[in-house]
Subunit: 176 residues, 3 copies
């Protein structure tokens, strides 16, 4: 269920990790992805209700709510995770880092594709709400408690309510 490289990824993400057993036992963000694998498999077979029941069991144990329809790329790490909500039509690229309280949600204005698309290597800080069928570009960073309502360009760092660009391009690891 966890590949060797995923252990390495978690250790790189979280300096507090002591060993692999700790990751298996005590990372709700890892457990939530196990539930999502099962739920998403059933969702693609059109078993919608049982898929949602598994998603909600996952929410009960982890505090993380991932709709079984969401498409999640490899290397996603959800740190702490309590209060995360990921909507049905959200799409997440490779090696994304989400903190607790992040919402990839809808605005109520759209039909069909209603939730965000998140690029590769994106970092989204604690408490951030990303709303609507917008795109967060590759390598972008979103600061804590921001509310993102428009597309974010590749490599940009955005902060605030509504989120505005603070800088674009390579900088030191941003404050999340």
């Amino acid at each position: 269920m966890i590949s060797i490289s995923y252990f390495d990824l978690v250790k790189e993400r979280d300096p507090a990790v002591k060993n692999n057993l700790e990751i298996i036992l005590t990372y709700p963000g890892v457990h939530a992805l196990w539930f999502h694998k099962v739920g998403h498999f059933l969702y693609r077979k059109n078993r919608f209700v049982i898929a949602r029941v598994i998603s909600q069991i996952g929410r009960f144990f982890t505090g993380i709510e991932i709709h079984p329809g969401a498409k999640i790329g490899p290397g996603l790490f959800i740190d702490h995770g309590m209060g995360v909500v990921i909507g049905e039509t959200a799409e997440i690229g490779k090696n994304v880092l989400l903190f607790h309280g992040v919402t990839l949600g809808g605005t109520g204005k759209d039909q069909g594709k209603r939730h965000p698309t998140v690029g590769d290597n994106v970092i989204i800080g604690a408490g951030v709400k990303v709303l609507g069928p917008i795109t967060i570009g590759n390598n972008a960073k979103v600061g804590a408690n921001a509310v993102v309502l428009e597309d974010v360009p590749d490599g940009a760092t955005v902060v605030g309510i509504p989120a505005e660009i603070k800088h674009i391009g390579k900088a030191e690891k941003s404050s999340l």
Copy 2:
């Protein structure tokens, strides 16, 4: 426990719903209201401790904390719900929509009535904190992660920290 019209209301609120069974099984916001019905009944009989125990059991299963003293009108829908806190003297009107992470709380400055009064048809976005014995007017909307410390007029849309009026009156469905 759920009327036909409440099923319709949830389906209107959440485009991801597939059928009624899904609503009964997988909507923590619906389950939280069941716990609150029992807790509020006992609270009005002055059975305060047992009422609070039931409220906390509801919090454990749903992630939604509603004080048994809170007065809640018909048609409330709490979407996702993790982290919602509704205080003892809060009052909620008809057909209100709250997202996860919403607080209807106190500031520590007031006695007696310490929590907000929310009008009819109000929509409060994810992560919003409404603090103090203030009033959110009918048909008002509050944008995600806002902090509301003053009365909001009927029909207004407010955003930010502290929340300020973005516009008043009929507009397209606002971004939450």
Copy 3:
């Protein structure tokens, strides 16, 4: 496990409390500290994995995640508590009040001491993120949903994203 004076402290903090039994049964913020006492004891004995397992069991029951390495002073009260995250190298002084959704976290830029130090008598509002090895001075107050990235002086009230000083010194109880 609870001293007489701690009952008094909770009653002073939360006007909704009716009696001591209610505090023992229905305050997740109190329960989380019991788990932390055990976890922190084991952590200091270098029993890191079991310490983290106990911390995560506490998170499951309370919605509050306190890393077993965190150093917590007497008189801490965590109100409501859902979504609170306290990091491994965080330090909290005496008689601190934290609301739900507060994060004492890291930015990813630091090694060793990575999390905040919070002074005595500090009040941190719901949804606040305090990030990095910064110091919140004694008697400071942080308004709801603020993101604190720099030191806060003694007695200051800070609000917003990023948090800025609203006033310093004795004022009426601030809006949280």
